[in-house]
Structure formats: C-alpha cells, structure tokens
Amino acid sequence: MNALRRTWEELGRYPSAVVGVVLIGFIVAIAVYAVIAIPYSEAIRLWRGGDDVWIETPRHARPKWINWFRKEKLPETIIVRTQENPDAKTVIPYGEGFSEIQVVFEFEYTADDFPSELSLFLQGVYAREAPYVDAFWITPDGREIRLAEFTVGRSYSYRISQDNQVRRRVGNVAPEIGLFADPSVTDKLVPLKGTYKLVLDGFLFEDDATIEGSLIAYGKVHGIAGTDHRRRDLSVALLWGAPIALTFGLVAAVGTSLITMALSAMAVWFGGIIDWIIRRITEVNMILPMLPILMMIGIFYSRSLWVILGAVVVLSIFGSSILTYRSMFLQVKESAYIEAARSYGAGSARIIFRYMMPKIIPVLIPSLVVTIPAFVFLEANLAILGLGDPILPTWGKLLNDAYEQGALYQGHYYWVLEPAVLLMLCGLGFSMLGFALDRVFNPRLRGL
C-alpha cells in the first residue's frame, strides 16, 4: 500500500503522467457513463436500428455544437405532433358520422439553412372507411402551396421531400428547399424565417374517426455527435466504444503479459525440454503474421469481439516479449534469494509465482500500460478491415462505416474525426502514463 502511494506521489511530478491520468480518467468516465446510461442490450438494439428506432433523426447530421462556430446557423430537427397540441385539430360534425376535419401543423423556423428532409407521418383512426384529406403548405408571407391529397390509412407516411409534383410546383428545386425559400431573394436560395403551417383539410366518415400524426422537418445537426447514413446517433457508438475498447485493451494486455511472464518463468526455471519447446513455439509464432490469422478467424469462424479477443491473447502470448522476460528471468533465477528459497525447501511453483514473477512485475507495469492502446488500435484495425463485431458498436466500426460511405468525400468530417480523436486520446493517455511509469520504475532512466 505504502509503495503504491509513493509511486503515485512520484508520478505527480511528471506532467505527462498527470495528463495521461486525466485522459484515461476521461475515457473511463465515458465508459462508466455508457454502461450505466445505455444498458448493453439497449445499445445493441439501438445500433441494429430497424423498427423505426431512428425515424425521427436526420441522416448525416453534424453535431449540434458545430453551430457555435458558424455564423449561419444550421437547422435542428423540428417535430410537430398532434398528440402534444390538441388545439391543432378542429372537427365540425355534419351528422350521420360525417364530419369535416382540419389539422394544422404549425412551427417557427429560424435557421439560416434549409432542412434536410420534410416528412409527414399520419395515423388514421377508423373502423372501415379511412379519412380523406387535402394537404396545404402556408408560408410566413401568406403563400399557400398545395401539396397533395390522399387517404389517411392506419399508418401513412407522406415523404414531402420525395414528391415530384411538389418539386415542380415550387420551381423545380427539392421540396424541402422550395417550400422554405424566400421568393423575394432571387439570386440565391435563402430560407424565409417565420411561422410555417401545414394544413390538412378533409373529411371523416365515421363518428369515432380521427387523424393523429407528426410533421418532421429534419435538421442538419443532431445531438452531441451527429448521425450516420442510417440516421443512427453516433453518440451511442462513441459512448459504447469506450468500455469495449478498454475491456479489449485491458484483458488482452493483462492476459498476454501475465501468461507470457508465467510461461517464460517456467521455461527458465525448468529449463531443458520445456525451455526448448516454449522457445521454438515462440520463434515460429513470431514469424506467423497475426493480422491475416485474425482475418481468417473472422471470415471463416466468428467475428464476435470476444472470439477475436481470445485469438489475440493466444497469438500474443508467444510473442517477442517471452524472450525479453526470459532474459530477465535467467538473471533472477541465479540470484541469491532464489538459492536461499531452495535451501529452505520452496517448491517450483512457489519459486516461479511468489519469487520470480513479483521481481519483474515492476518492469512489466509500464510496458503493460503502453500495450493497452496497441490492442485498442488492433481492434479498430480489424473493424476498419470489415472484421469488426457485427452487433457491437465500437469506434472502429464507426470508422469502417464512414469509410464505406465515403464520409470524407462527402464532407462528413465529424464522422471520421470523432472516433479517431477518441482512439488517439486513449492511446495518448496510456502512452503518457506508461512512459512516466517507466521512469518511476526504472531508475536508470531518471537521469535522462
């Protein structure tokens, strides 16, 4: 305990260690928040999408905070729901179940750019005969544009942005632009600010019939991280990437280091044929390339992150570090305290685990800390190569999606930069801490 506190105090003297600890703390905080705020199964469900989970978020939206740096503010998503606003509906009964209905979706538009999409989702409530409506668009300056007329089924989606008739009516520009454009400005397209209305005028044919629904003017910014091509909020993957990356890095680094150390200690202690076998396996394994083997496992067997993690650990055990540890243990084996332990009857297992391994663990800790990000990057590499876990959201998966969708060509820089920055912070944090630890534990380096 005492030694731990002393190490900690000594670390405080290295600014790089402090920065490293802060960065690691940041990543750990993200990881803890992610695991608490979004349970594992929920994260997987959200990332799989489907079931219209992401129906109300825009595609390719940038993060909201991008507006802080822009003069022309990008629009956020505007959702107008009839359920939240009962006054929007007026029903005039004519008797015999027949009535006239007017539904008004009214909203204020203040952004300096056009929305990315415009959709109307309606649910007709009826027994046999569906309501029938005319849809009109009323701009702040009083123009009235006819959109369409349709029967409101039980679940009716009217994608205004994709309506070619509206497109022609507003001057052959995309409806979400034409409907919002300021007609007084002729040289370019500028949105007109003010109160817009979408009015549904129509008839109900049954007593209990009604129309519910929502109008969504999708914005161009969303959340703290933006969205991808499937409307998924990137923050889910960014948050959940942290615990996955940390687990993968820690388990792989600690697992390989400890097993490698135990193996090389055994090789040195027993010597002879055991030493020979372990060294030959190591030499063969060092020649075999790890990445193609992992790719083959990914293609032919399983792409589950945990299978890959196991494979990484198994392949890394017989790495070059086994020879490094071996050279240290050769020295430790001959030291007087091992001889003393033998003289009072310590067995082989006790000598290996209680006498030899603790001696070099201080040397191991810095390299352990530095290898954690190496394994995090390895996981990202595999994901970028398309061998990421198919269901788990990770940083590498985000990069892979961005790459496949040509994010950089389309100018979606945020999509690449966000996971990349987190990966880099993670690597930077562990490296800075690791280098400082190296100096604390290896006094020979202190003079440098």
Partner: protein
Amino acid sequence: MLSKAEVPVAEQATQKPILSVRNLHTWFEIRRLGFFKAGEVKALDGVDFDLYPGEAVSIVGESGCGKSTLAKTILGIHQPTKGEIIFEGKKLSEFTKEDRKEYTAKVGYVQQDPYGAMASFMTVKRILEEPMLIHGIRSPEERNRRIRQVLEEVKLTPVEDFLPKYPHQLSGGQQQRLVIARAMILEPKLLVADEPVSMLDASVRVEILQLLRSLQERHNLAIIYITHDLSTVRYFSERIFVMYGAKIVEQSGTRQLLENPEHPYTKALLEATSDPDAENLKTFKKVPSGEPPSLLNPPPGCRFYARCEFAIHGLCDKQMPPDFETADGKLVRCWLYDPERKQ
C-alpha cells in the same frame, strides 16, 4: 570462546557425526553450441570430512577453489556427480521427498550478500514467514511467536519496528542478522554460512561472528563457516579445512593449524594473511607465484605442484597424494608427510 576450540578433536570423534561427506564430486558440464559436451568443470573433486553436532568448522581457500560449491552441494542446490552426503546417518541420495523437505528445515543457509539473499519485495515479516509456510506451520500465533523469538535472538529489537520494513530499509548488519534469523527460524541443527561477513563493514563483522557463535552455543548448532579470510577464523571455529583446487588439502584443529601449518599451500595462505602491524609496511611478503589449476582439466598429480616450492619432481606431478595423518585428527594431503618416504 577459545576454550571450546581447545577441546581435543579425538574426544569429539567418539560422537556420531551429524554430517559426513564421502568422496564428494560435483562437476558442471560445459556444452558447446548447446548440445555437444565440451568437458566438465570439476568444482569438487573428491572431498571427505565429518562434522559433529555442535561443532564449528571453517573452510578456507581462495576464490574458485570450490568452497561455495561444497556449501551448495551440501544444501542440495547442486546435485553431486559422485559420492555421498550422509546426514544423521541417512544418505541424501536415498532421501524421499519428505526426507528432503525435513532436511531443508534442519539445515540453515546464510549467504554472502545479505541484501541479495532476500526478496526485495517482501517485508521482514514475510521473509521470516516464508520458510514456516513452506514447512506447514499453519497457525499464525505459532509463526508470530517464532518470529518474535528469533528476532530477539538476533537482536533486531524492538521487533514491531522491524516487521513491516523492507530489506532495503535495513543497514548491512541488520540485513545479515535478518538472514541469520531466517536461517534459524526452522530450528536447524546445521548452519552453512558462506562468507557471511565478507560484504560487511569491519565494525560489524565481529558482532555477526559473535552472534553466530552464541547461537551455536545456545542451540548446539553445527556450523560450516566458509571464508577466504583467515583472520576471522581464529575467533570462530574448532577445526579448519583448507581447500585448494576442488580438494581439501589440510584438516586440523584451529590452533594447531594456525601455529603449525603443514601443507605448503596452508603455509603460503597464512603468510599472505595481513596483520595490523606497522612493520608490514616495510616487509615484502613471499607469496607463491602462478595461478590455481584449471578445474576444467586438472593436472594428474598434486593440484599445488606448479606453485609449490617443496615439490618433488617425478612424484608430485604424477600422483595425487592421499591424506596423511600427521597428528591426532590432523590430515594433510601432501607427499611431504608420507611416513614411508620419510624413513
């Protein structure tokens, strides 16, 4: 202390030896390219002696003569190539696993470098507990009782202050006391001390030797004291074995040996011992020239032949001398003392 050293050797011989070493050989193989046998280093090449309960013997000799190999072979750290070690009437080579474990409890080991002899990551308490844990002393009360007792015995008091410390927090003398405490904690009958004071300050040496001596008297402990320094020997042991070139060349009582060295090598060794005498500044000591023989390929005759001024050509370089008994309990491995030749 000298009173004990005066006890005639013959009187002790009536007792049963606690440890007998018979024709002991420890050879280390040298390999070329990791596979091909290139020869053997004959670190011990036929060593015989008896050790009696409660007796302290010193083994002296220069570096590389096999002193430490002898100690480690007795402790079971090295396997003997040939010959026998007999402890309390039982051969080490016939030990069962339990016998061997019991043997490690009955034989304590004190090394040269006290700091290196302890695991630097263990506290004093842990260092002393380890041998007891290995030997199945489960009850913590018993362990604590023994730790307290042994620390008081080596005068590391107050005990509580020392228990949580790490070896690097102790002084050299305290470290060696701790090593002795660890060797004593299983209540051994034989203590092997391999150069226990050579790395300590001159001021601490005598204290440590006196401590060993008092432990020996209190526990009737047999001690094998290995040293290259003849000046510490006279304070310590009843008998001295002089080693040269992997063999014991002279065995005799301490006083007898110091006053009347017989083997030419012993004479040279005593000649080389420095005394704090101002006269030494002006004198030039006569020391035999040359190097000890290679143990990889030792000469057929006496190992000291090449450096010996009394060498008999045609005999000493051809035939290894046997042990000749020149006085009661005094053995010398030198042709000069061949009774047939003298006649």
